[in-house]
């Protein structure tokens, strides 16, 4: 049995007694890139937030590397949706990236040369070096996303949670994110990504969780990412889904014989 990066049991989240996540069980082995997909309102972001103790859970247990969140939180990196912050905040790209290192600098001290160095390296990885001194209010959506990604990279975590990093970004950013995901995997890191584009799931990820309030399927892409599971997850929303399926089922049948890495 491989080591589990994440194990969730019976996780239930409710807003005012309306269930948002219902008895979620899932396990994620170490070193995989996992996509969390599902229709709007399926609770994808909620799943991440509940796992990270950002919102209270009604029931359930979450373990990271076999331990509770508090014990391992320094090994966990988080990339929030970029819409959650005020991009008009008076600060620079480099500063935002260095925020990922604040917990490694004791509380009265200031960030120093070493932190700047690490932040610049992370910016280089996301091809944002020349934007280091730029005001964050001047960034495009893709650049904002890459800034957030760099901030997560400097944390050098073992397990990353990314909330919709691919939402409304340009092609360059999308490619940069994919390259970084693969690089993280090759270094043995585990990454959970809330994702919305079904077509790219088999290409970008090797593990998938289909979610619609409950977990519909959770496993290697080659085993569980099939039309049957997808229609169970997306159900009545087939109208939206149909257009995507044609392109995507053909692609899927190409890769069907066990796509697992």
């Amino acid at each position: 049995m491989p080591n589990l990066a994440l194990k969730i049991e019976d996780l239930t989240v409710a807003y005012h007694s309306k269930p948002v996540l219902w008895d979620v069980d899932m396990s994620v082995p170490e070193g995989v890139l996992l996509a969390i997909v599902g229709p709007n309102g399926a609770g994808k972001s909620t799943l991440i937030k509940a796992a990270l103790d950002l919102i209270p859970r009604a029931a359930g247990d979450v373990r990271f590397f076999g331990q509770p969140y508090r014990a391992v939180r320094h090994q966990i990196g988080y990339v929030p949706q970029r819409g959650t912050v005020d991009w008009d905040f008076p600060t620079t790209v480099l500063n935002v990236v260095m925020m990922g290192l604040y917990d490694k600098v004791s509380w009265i001290r200031r960030v120093g040369k070493r932190e700047r160095q690490l932040a610049m390296e992370a910016l280089e990885q996301v091809s944002m070096t020349e934007f280091a001194d730029r005001q964050i209010s001047q960034l495009s959506g893709g650049q904002q996303q890459r800034t957030f990604l760099a901030r997560a990279l400097v944390q050098d975590a073992q397990l990353y949670f990314m909330d919709e990093p691919f939402a409304a970004v340009d092609a360059v950013t999308e490619r940069a994110i994919v390259a970084i995901l693969r690089q993280l995997r090759s270094r043995g890191k585990t990454v959970l990504v809330v994702h919305h584009d079904l077509q790219t799931v088999p290409e970008y990820f090797d593990w998938v969780t289909l979610l619609n309030v409950e977990v519909i399927a959770n496993g290697a892409v080659g085993e569980v990412f099939n039309v049957e599971n997808l229609s169970r997850a997306y159900g009545g929303k087939m109208t939206v889904f149909d257009n995507q399926t044609t392109a995507f089922t053909t692609e899927l049948s190409d890769v069907k014989p066990n796509n697992a890495p």
Partner: protein, 439 residues
């Protein structure tokens, strides 16, 4: 790229702030108004309080929590009254009462918004009015008592700087030093929690404690500021300096610093003016000064100010119109037999309307158009410019298609930027190639 290590850091700038206040106070002491003991006390107290409010208020501005400051200052009034009823007119008692009431108000706001479906803003509204109403009721009751005349509690509504004594200034100064120390010690945490609360939470920062510390410091500033600015207008001293500072800087430390300076200026001037004139309430004067700063900045700030943006817009429109005039002159000429055939003036007027006159005059000054008979024609330079312009436009068109493979953020470059100047050479060559061989 500038070397990031040479930039002044947050902490250094806060020290600069303290130096700035010292300068400010020194400047006032040397100014032509004759300062007696009371006036110096009032100026010092007002300056330090204004600075404190400005510094802490800039975080409220960035967190978009202006209403919270308003709710807390109003909520403090019943505390002042209860403090008086318990211990008589003793400043520490009044301040402790105010602090406790403000704090209770904050706890209730959080409790209401966390446990019910009422959102935080509405909760603030409810706490604001209910506490304030209770405070006013208590105040009327106190005023009917025989010892009411010397109480002067009604001064807490609009503030009265003249009531300040030297001992108060010492208290305020000590608290000010305490706030600066806390700010320096927790600068990173305050910055992170203000910018991205969720990220801080996910990284295991004690976000609630950090926020509690920040808001408690704000409550302290509010409570101390009450006798100066009054409960009704205290929020102005908290928010206005931050709003003005935000327009002028792009760096958090600078913003906090500048906000402190603005608050200090407003606090000092307002307090001194009110102490000089008989019976002028301090709060309104302070807020008038602060608002004057805000409106001046909103109007005249570079980049973000209304005047700057309007001028920028006008200049851009004029440039566009000049470009269109050149294009029309060129087209007309081509249709009438040669690149430098003149277009009759009435024709140009008909094409480009009223804006033509100014545009043509400027183009003539720049040597791009010359008059010929009753019309206008391109000079050699004008012809060159229009040709370069047209090539640029074609490049842009190709670039927009081609740029699916390029970072689209480059498209944020102003639309009329010269691509031959902005694009790297190899990209430019590729584009030229596409243009020549069709896309």
């Amino acid at each position: 790229m500038s070397n990031p290590t040479t930039r002044p850091n947050g902490a250094t700038q806060v020290f600069l702030l303290i130096g700035g206040i010292a300068l400010l106070v020194g400047g006032i002491a040397l100014s032509p108004i004759r300062f007696d003991y009371t006036l110096i006390t009032v100026a010092l107290g007002g300056g330090i309080l204004g600075t404190l409010s400005g510094v802490l208020g800039s975080f409220s501005v960035l967190k978009r929590e202006s209403l919270l400051g308003d709710a807390l200052s109003h909520a403090a009034l019943p505390g002042v009254c209860l403090g008086f009823l318990v211990a008589g007119r003793e400043l520490p008692a009044l301040l402790i009462g105010a602090g406790l009431a403000g704090w209770l108000g904050m706890v209730l706001i959080r409790a209401i918004s966390n446990t019910t479906r009422i959102n935080e803003e509405t909760a603030m509204g409810i706490i604001l009015v209910s506490f304030f109403a209770f405070g006013i009721a208590l105040l009327s009751y106190i005023q009917q008592r025989p010892d009411a005349s010397q109480a002067g509690l009604d001064k807490f509504i609009f503030g009265q700087a003249a009531a300040m004594v030297r001992r108060d200034v010492w208290v305020i100064g000590a608290v000010g030093v305490g706030v600066c120390v806390a700010l320096l010690a927790f600068w990173k945490e305050f910055e992170l929690v203000t910018f991205d609360r969720e990220f801080a939470l996910a990284n295991g920062y004690p976000v609630r404690s950090i926020e509690l510390l920040l808001i408690s410091l704000t409550v302290v500033a509010i409570v101390l500021g009450l006798q100066l600015a009054g409960v009704v207008l205290m929020v102005g001293l908290l928010i206005a300096p931050g709003v003005a500072a935000r327009q002028l800087t792009r760096n958090l430390a600078q913003m906090v610093l500048l906000s402190g300076v603005f608050g200090g200026i407003a606090g000092t001037t307002g307090a001194v003016l009110s102490a000089l004139g008989e019976g002028l309430p301090t709060g309104p004067l302070i807020i008038l000064v602060a608002s004057a700063i805000v409106f001046t900045v909103i109007l005249f700030a570079p980049q973000r100010g209304i005047v700057w943006m309007t001028l920028q817009q006008r200049r851009h429109r004029l440039q566009l119109s000049m470009r269109h005039i050149l294009r029309d002159v060129h087209r007309y000429a081509l249709e009438h037999g040669g690149e430098r055939v003149a277009i009759p003036e009435p024709m140009l007027r008909a094409l480009r309307g009223r804006e033509a006159r100014l545009g043509v005059r400027l183009l003539e000054q720049q040597g791009l158009l010359e008059s010929l008979g009753a019309g206008w024609r391109l000079t050699a330079e004008g012809l060159q410019l229009i040709e370069r312009d047209e090539r640029n436009q074609k490049l842009w068109r190709a670039f927009r298609i081609y740029s699916l493979q390029v970072d689209t953020s480059l498209l944020n470059v102003s639309r009329d930027a010269d691509l031959t100047q902005t694009l790297p050479l190899h990209t430019l060559n590729e584009l030229e190639h596409i243009l020549e061989n069709g896309s």
